[in-house]
Symmetry: none
Subunit: 197 residues, 4 copies
């Protein structure tokens, strides 16, 4: 019983199914069959809408990024000081959805895929640049430009590193201690600068 206007619904269902399948599986080695079954449609439909598995993966990657962005933007809006903006970025990175074991696994899988897929790499770089520029922008209000770059770099690396450790052992690092570790890094770095001045 085909309906009109199904396209956006189907696309979303397929992308969500892909993300879930990848997350559950812990890798991109998922079959179109599995994805389609998870979405409750036939594999052929996935091809109908996305043309190829690669395209579906790219779309999924985009959705993951958009999701993260969707958490960051409102949080940034709510932050009233530069320091609070930094905390907002950290907080969004470790949001319940983002730091869920399956989401982390998906991120990791896409990092690996980026080794070969130009588009995936491009998208991941966009994410990295965006986080970096958000951090630098806020930090520049708190220290000089060179130091801001440095702390931004460290903060971003720390976030990624905590993600990867989470992937290895879901139980190991809870959200709160991860957040605290990064917050402490920022605070300590900023303190060191002002004390030096």
């Amino acid at each position: 019983m085909p309906k009109l206007g199904m396209e956006p619904l189907r696309r979303k269902a397929l992308v969500d199914a892909t993300l879930k399948t990848i997350g559950d599986h812990g890798s991109l080695e998922v079959t179109m069959q599995e994805i389609a079954r998870c979405a409750g449609v036939s594999p052929a439909l996935a091809f109908h809408y996305f043309g190829s598995k690669d395209q579906l993966l790219i779309a999924t990657m985009r959705s993951l990024l958009a999701q993260l962005n969707g958490e960051i933007v409102p949080m940034l809006r709510g932050a009233e000081s530069p320091r609070a903006r930094i905390s907002a970025l950290i907080c969004a990175s470790f949001g319940d959805d983002q730091f869920a074991a399956t989401t982390v696994a998906a991120w990791l899988a896409f990092y690996v895929a980026a080794q070969r897929s130009d588009e995936t790499r491009r998208l991941l770089k966009i994410y990295a640049r965006r986080l970096h520029s958000n951090l630098v922008h806020a930090l520049k209000a708190l220290c000089d430009g060179q130091k801001a770059e440095h702390v931004a770099e460290g903060t971003a690396a720390l976030i990624d590193g905590l993600y990867i450790r989470r992937a290895l052992d879901a139980a190991h690092a809870d959200v709160e201690s991860a957040k605290a570790l990064v917050e402490d890094y920022v605070t300590t770095q900023l303190a060191a600068i002002s004390s030096k001045a």
Copy 2:
């Protein structure tokens, strides 16, 4: 013209070929054919010596770990103070071999594999535990135990994070600035503690 005692040579050649193939490829989705060609033997020989692709991958993983260990141990031996030991650990982590783009790609690939392979996960956890305990041991000479745990955690996450960023963009972070970032983290954290006291 087959000779005797080829087994260890072939095993090594195959493991090295696997590491190289994975590194070049940027993922574990390499075929036995590719690996065998890279090692200059037939795929059948790889099965003859390792039994299965999984076993070969595990052996390769082990070799990667042993290689890292081989760089850490002598550096630790040469370090004369606790602080120097920490630097030695950082230095080894960013050694030329370890931080080579292909090696980093291989590490990342294994992190993804760890999602499904118990043995791979076990081996990666061993690496993580070893680094952690080495760091904590050195840090305990410089600050109290709780703080040592904290800094060790941050240092390890920072190292992993810089690895992952390296994987994304080989050019982005050069070895020296990566080392400097981690060194600075340790130094600043330790300084913050003593100033507080």
Copy 3:
């Protein structure tokens, strides 16, 4: 030009092709390729519908059993006396289809497979039990229970034995003399009992 509702047709075609291929070959060492070619489809389709070679073999075994049953049931229905029922069972066992050289070869092949495949063994045991119980049921009207068991046992063994000899040398035993041998066994055994009484 694919149509709908092909599944049952393909399944049957594949099972029939399997039976034929096994019969021609004289063993279960047939490849999916051969079977698929015989059915006029690609090997992949066989996997699509049956999942694995083993499953296809099991389905074929089941079909063979069903075929035999399909010959026995109407013959039993047409038999009006206990003795006639026994003759019907013998007659069905040596029906043209069942005693065809290729069918016999297939039966034999499955007997060998039963050594390792639990499901195959289970199915063969069902066949054996069914024949036995049919025979015993009819014989009990002609002699006492213990003797009925004995004659049923002998009759079944004789049938199987003639099958195996047929497999060895298709020309050796024609259908009629095989039937006559078993009929004579039953007749003589029953006569011996009544004369003794």
Copy 4:
């Protein structure tokens, strides 16, 4: 440490290992590797002595036949009457070695192989002919030629049938009841003839 006169020993060891492997496995789908391991030598040695797997299987088949013959001959020698000779043949067929589950499995496997291997078929036919002629020879002293042929045929089929049933369910038929069944067949048939006369 190569020794002189090893050839016959090695050949025997390999043939015995083949028989054991086939018996344990329940089919001819055994690898040269398995056979060699069972014999405690390298696979290459099996090729050295037998040239090919087929040749080794043929030799094994021959050994199986010789073994059976080795049980029949002395038993026949010890039999003092025609009827006793028949019992001796039956007895030898159900000797402990012959009726062992693994031996039965091997026989069955060879019957299947006979479908494709001319030499195997030839050897099995020799066995069949020898049993038949032994039976007929003894029976002719007890009844007329035509009847002797008939009873010999039935006896042989019964023996084979009991073998095949044994293969299906080792527990089902014990040696003694198998022997008794065949003995009873012969006795009843002979009795029927004399009573008719």
